[in-house]
Symmetry: D2
Subunit: 249 residues, 4 copies
Amino acid sequence: MSGITVGVLGSQGKVGQAIVTAVEKADDLTYTVGVDKGDSLEFFSDTDTQVVVDFTHPDVVMDNLKYLIANGIHAVVGTTGFTEERLETVRGWLAENPKVGVLIAPNFAIGAVLSMRFAAQAAKYYDSVEVVELHHPQKADAPSGTAYRTAELIGRARAEAGVGPSPDATTSELDGARGAVVDGVHVHSVRLAGLVAHQEVLLGTEGETLTIRHDSLDRSSFAPGVLLGVRSIADRPGLTIGLEELMDL
Amino acid sequence: MSGITVGVLGSQGKVGQAIVTAVEKADDLTYTVGVDKGDSLEFFSDTDTQVVVDFTHPDVVMDNLKYLIANGIHAVVGTTGFTEERLETVRGWLAENPKVGVLIAPNFAIGAVLSMRFAAQAAKYYDSVEVVELHHPQKADAPSGTAYRTAELIGRARAEAGVGPSPDATTSELDGARGAVVDGVHVHSVRLAGLVAHQEVLLGTEGETLTIRHDSLDRSSFAPGVLLGVRSIADRPGLTIGLEELMDL
Amino acid sequence: MSGITVGVLGSQGKVGQAIVTAVEKADDLTYTVGVDKGDSLEFFSDTDTQVVVDFTHPDVVMDNLKYLIANGIHAVVGTTGFTEERLETVRGWLAENPKVGVLIAPNFAIGAVLSMRFAAQAAKYYDSVEVVELHHPQKADAPSGTAYRTAELIGRARAEAGVGPSPDATTSELDGARGAVVDGVHVHSVRLAGLVAHQEVLLGTEGETLTIRHDSLDRSSFAPGVLLGVRSIADRPGLTIGLEELMDL
Amino acid sequence: MSGITVGVLGSQGKVGQAIVTAVEKADDLTYTVGVDKGDSLEFFSDTDTQVVVDFTHPDVVMDNLKYLIANGIHAVVGTTGFTEERLETVRGWLAENPKVGVLIAPNFAIGAVLSMRFAAQAAKYYDSVEVVELHHPQKADAPSGTAYRTAELIGRARAEAGVGPSPDATTSELDGARGAVVDGVHVHSVRLAGLVAHQEVLLGTEGETLTIRHDSLDRSSFAPGVLLGVRSIADRPGLTIGLEELMDL
């Protein structure tokens, strides 16, 4: 057995299985055990697991974290539903076990995280910014959560820098042509058979444009981000929110 | 003097100047004379001009064509405002001078013409089609006229082939996110500083997509299409509408 | 049972399974039977199969076709290895059964077929043409077969139209920067983790460019082309080579 | 007169004229005077100019800087030819006038600067990185200087992070297909009529890709970067090399 020992909560789910595979393929990580509904969390302690990945359900994730932190096990969490109140509770547990690190992140796709960061950094240097997101036609919401969040970050960065609105001389618009508007940023949602999940941030100023495009071609695209979390979290005690905090940006 | 002799109506306007330059640069064409407001149309006859390019104004273009056709001079026309009634009048003049050819086209950008043609041809083989057009922020209308026309051609091709609507499971939409809808085709209009005139047609089916993109980076992009018209029109007596009719597609 | 009855040769292979699934999902097609190694071809006759899809092996495809044609069954063939001699043999069999239609195609991805066709049609209207193909890093050959074929078609179209070489003032080149050259067309091969199979044809003239891009995001991208063949082949007796022949272009 | 007072060296050159125009259009800047060949540098002192922009020639730029620094005038310099020896000389002059700020930058296109920065930051999180640059066909060198520099920055970032080479299973390559290699990064150069100056950095890992694209559509694309320098340099005494140092990244 070599490297960091890693267990998986929800190891038989679709995402869980992909994470088990990714851990097993990594030379510097050793997969210990999976815990699913009905299994005991003590499996992790019994196998000297150092880091546990949790992609489960809001109903059980708090119990999971309570156990892991109390037992000195680091956690990388992709489960949703963390209110500010829940985060406070987790911080309280961590205060009692100050060596443990917990990462909670809404998005583990490295490209999505980088896209948002770069877009927010670049936003104030350009006159215009718009977002185009493109997804498979089974998607229920438009725009996507990532596009909405990206527009918010861009809007905030521009507001903080005192940048005015993007110029727009449109006087005659067919309803919807100019997209939705989120914090002053126009967002367009394309739905197309054959696509998976894609997003472009377009920034423009006199004579030049910058485009930051992220393509997820496979559901496995969260795996590299989860592994980055697994490798980094032991060196980062306390609560970390968002994968970008572990990145050197 | 070698090749086809070419004159220009409106030679001192912005477009006219660009056409004069393009004609002078072409080895197989010879520029004869420009006629502007106040000049006599007889300059063309006096200089044995074979083809005249007309980018003038709806108020004068009919008088121009009457003279040119009566004097056996072919015409390549980018001036707008041709109603069906006007076209009938031109056809009548041409019937009396059956060797003369006249091309009237709303769009001389070869790439725009090809994009529309290819999009219409491909449309029935894909489950989904959407159009994204991107322009400088001084543009008043959204979507662009070319995008509107492209969507109409796609919609018509799909209707004729009996293809159903593009799949779309959107149940929660922020107003405008899914764009405008033209003949069943979603059209999105981006306005961005630094851009000129650009359009993407996206087509998708299971596991694959096809994208046809046209970029106009300079106002001179009509020149190659005008020269194509100049070189072809003598061999095409009668009235031709649309540059695509001269292309081997 | 409704619509066309369809059988599959090699139904248990990866491609065969995908085709069975696609046939079963189509309302206007009925799946009859699969024939794999060791099974009798008579299964097809016994089940009144009208069209058989063959994605098998060069070693057995000729025997398959001999039986199918003799028994009045149409065939859609993606198996490779058809020399001119083999095609002649198939034509001979078809001459004896003039109502039977056989489609043999090297590429069933509709987007790839359309891309090549559109690129060849557009090539003579542009000063410059280059091809960029992008694939996963496990690919052994560079450029891809499709890119090579695309460049050949472009090169031929330009030669036939008497178009000169693309302008290129490069005097100082780092070895390989300008790509490979196929029939006068520069071809660039990108290999990138996360990609599947993608290709861009870039065409440019004064002030404008046209880009035709094809993305295969999934191995299933041949399915729509196979179904197009299945639906069309009964109305097209004799030998048809290439999916594009069945398309209305 | 309001805001920062700005003078221009080489004000009658193509670049200089564009800068004068940009300064005059900016509400927070006031254009004072242009100095060209034969004019006295004292014009700047006489007009209380605070910042001077220098896009001149390596032969004269050192004399210009000597005067400006000695007279307490900040400088924004796009002129090339700065060896380490020259930079040392400038640092010496600045040491004697510690309130003066000088910015020397090889590239004032904000998008090019951001692209390089983002590419270098993202490079270590991806298995694969390649660069595709696309320019007009009059360009003499391939790859472009910016692409070469981008590849160097990517190569260095990956080396520092201990990331191995991008995976590549190519065993059969048509000469040049895989591009040039700069510090382990494959670089492809497209030359196409109609293009100006464009670059894409493609990064890929399992299931996802990130693309950072920069398009310069007009020679005026250096203007926003020059203005950023003009507005920032007074608050940044001493020598600053590279526009990115003034950006909040």
